[in-house]
């Protein structure tokens, strides 16, 4: 019999921040339910929180870095993709200065990822051109 695991987490859709329990089998999500002990939602969910998780296992997910060459995306290793970006961004910074770069940060990802995003923008690119989708 397959073993079912439960993981307590927080919903990634809206700003309400409902507590959710993810039920998994064989590394696949099989069910998401509201967490009754969560202070925000006390077990309730909307349709997105409970049933909007199928994208996670979609065949359409990006799985490798892609570099556009002659108008077509080609698969690349992390080493190749990050070296390419590092060269391009360093060149643009040297030629046009730090303010020719801008970062659109993500309001869906974690605090920790957002901290790293702004640290990269400020400490490495030397720019305060960083903003999120908070204006749309």
């Amino acid at each position: 019999m397959t073993e079912r695991h439960e993981t307590a987490t927080t919903c990634a859709y809206c700003g309400t921040g409902c507590g959710l329990i993810i039920e998994t089998e064989n590394d696949q999500i099989v069910r998401v339910r509201g967490d009754k002990s969560a202070p925000v939602n006390k077990g309730q969910t909307c349709i997105k929180g409970a049933l909007g998780y199928h994208y996670i296992h979609s065949e359409d997910r990006l799985t490798v870095p892609l570099i556009k060459k002659a108008g077509e995306f080609t698969e690349a290793s992390w080493e190749e993709a990050l070296s390419f970006i590092a060269d391009k961004l360093t060149g643009i910074k040297q030629q046009f200065g730090p303010d020719a770069f801008s970062m659109f940060a993500c309001a869906r990802t974690t605090n920790e990822a957002n901290f790293a995003t702004q640290k990269f923008t400020r400490a490495v690119m030397g720019s305060n051109n960083i903003d999120g989708c908070n204006r749309t």
């Binding site: 921040g17 997910r61 901290f115 995003t117 204006r135």
Partner: protein, 481 residues
């Protein structure tokens, strides 16, 4: 919401300030404001009184389209309630006068003393799970980690010595301003994480041209979105249920998110990609895990998060910041100092009503207002994967039109029609409903098959840079056979 409401004020789009100024005038004239609170805590009352004197009930009824008695009743109910709060979302901010709309909400709350006590206050309901946290972490052009301005020398110097770099003390550019720089050619490169601005932003055809102006575009996402398709490099990121860390919800609650399944292929956590890139560019950034990053956040912004560790969150659940030390319980209620011996004061900011920038005329006689629907989420890159077994109200975009307006146009429910503005045109199914007012049409931007933002107008609030998604002039025509 309206079904659960005691009173539904269905105002004309963009007339919020007229309504609120009218309510303020009624409250002042009838003496329903909190005199003691006002004397102690509010500044600039005479200016507010003078400004709102220009909004007599008759005029407000005309601008908003409401009955005079309903406006009066709303003012009385709100002012006389023991506890009242104002909750709002993008309906307030997505206007050319969005910041002024928010100022008037603050005016109304301050006048009635409905702030700083349990059950009162102003509640902006935030749209994304971590839009609050992203800003608090410093993903804003004018704010460092911990919501402290970049211009604060002492705070910036503290981070500089920790990071061993010199930081720019001047605010950077907002997304809106970056788009302008892309138009002039001054902005050469853009790095986009988990966002699809090509579909989400106003005046889509124009936005697409601007993106093609860039020398170098990087997109880091879960899917090959419309924006990713035109990028030079696309990087695969881990998603929810795959990454570890915390989110901050709309009421400042820090909550844990935990991995439940492995990510597909070679996808990495957003922070890991940025750390590797930094290191490659000569600035080593190494963290063992998300918890190690959070420890650096706590060190910098100890005034907010000093007492919040991942371990404490794992033990006791969520904590609301500010929570400066381990023994602090967290803060459920802000602005209590309005009411106690600390004697906080705040100024009124009187504002003027201004009509939407593009009003209907003979050529484009209807008003389009845009927003979200229940089941899909933003540009639908994730919610398009609901399995067919999930029953939904709506699986394609519609133009929601009042039956009387539809009758004048000779349009039937379910018929495909052309919706056009001065900027573009889409074909969409008509849905007849009394949820909207006559001559007002509602659409969302969820389905890529109907890119509603080709219609919307590129007019922005001068302070926030938020676009006027809520009002533009359109026409609707039957499709030619």
């Amino acid at each position: 919401m309206t079904k659960a409401a005691d009173q539904h004020l269905q105002i004309a789009v963009g007339s919020d300030i007229a309504l609120m100024n009218g309510m303020i005038k009624i409250i002042i004239e009838n003496g329903w404001y909190d005199e003691r609170f006002l004397t102690r805590s509010a500044i600039n009352f005479n200016d507010l009184k003078a400004q709102t004197a220009e909004y007599p009930l008759e005029k407000v009824a005309k601008i908003t389209g409401l009955e005079e008695k309903d406006i009066f009743a709303a003012a009385e109910t709100f002012a006389k309630a023991d506890r009242a709060m104002i909750a709002y979302t993008l309906g307030i901010t997505e206007h050319h006068c969005g910041v002024n709309n928010v100022f008037d909400i603050a005016n109304l709350s301050l006048l009635t003393g409905h702030i700083g006590r349990e059950g009162t206050g102003i509640m902006p309901l935030r749209g994304q799970n971590n839009v609050q946290g992203a800003g608090d972490m410093g993903c804003l052009p004018n704010m460092l980690t911990g919501a402290v301005p970049v211009s604060d020398d002492a705070y910036r110097n503290k981070i500089e010595s920790l990071w061993n770099v010199t930081l720019n003390p001047n605010p950077g550019r907002t997304q809106t301003s970056v788009l302008e720089q892309m138009e002039s050619g001054a902005m050469k490169s853009l790095y986009v994480i988990g966002e699809n601005p090509l579909v989400a932003d106003v005046h889509k055809n124009h936005t697409t041209e601007l993106f093609k102006n860039l020398d170098f575009l990087v997109v880091q996402d879960l899917f090959l979105t419309e924006t990713a398709e035109i990028a030079d490099v696309v990087l695969p990121a881990k998603g929810w249920a795959e990454s570890d860390g915390t989110y901050t919800n709309t009421d400042r609650r820090i909550q844990r998110v935990r991995p439940a399944v492995p990510a597909p292929g070679k996808a990495l956590d957003d922070w890991e990609i940025l750390c590797r890139l930094s290191t490659k560019m000569g600035y080593p950034m190494h963290y063992a895990d998300a918890g190690a990053i959070w420890e650096e956040v706590r060190m910098i912004a100890d005034h907010l998060y000093g007492g919040i560790s991942h371990a404490r969150l794992d033990n006791q659940g969520s904590i609301q910041y500010p929570c400066p030390h381990e023994d602090h319980p967290g803060t459920t209620l802000l602005h209590t100092e309005f009411h106690d011996s600390r004697g906080k004061t705040a100024p009124f900011t009187p504002v003027t009503y201004t009509a939407p920038v593009e009003l209907p005329d003979s050529e484009y006689p209807l008003t389009l207002t845009t927003g979200r629907r229940y089941e899909p989420y933003n540009t639908n890159t994730q919610t398009r994967y609901y399995p067919d077994t999930v029953k939904r109200k709506q699986t394609e975009e519609t133009a929601d039109i009042h039956p009387l307006t539809a009758e004048e146009l000779g349009i039937e429910d379910g018929e495909y029609v052309s919706v056009a503005s001065r900027r573009g045109e889409v074909t969409v199914k008509a849905r007849l409903t009394e949820e909207v007012q006559t001559d007002l049409v509602f659409m969302s931007f969820h389905w890529r098959e109907v890119p509603t933002n080709v219609l919307t107008i590129d007019e922005f609030d001068p302070i926030s840079g938020t676009a006027e998604y809520k009002a533009c002039a359109i026409r609707i025509d039957k499709l030619r056979q």
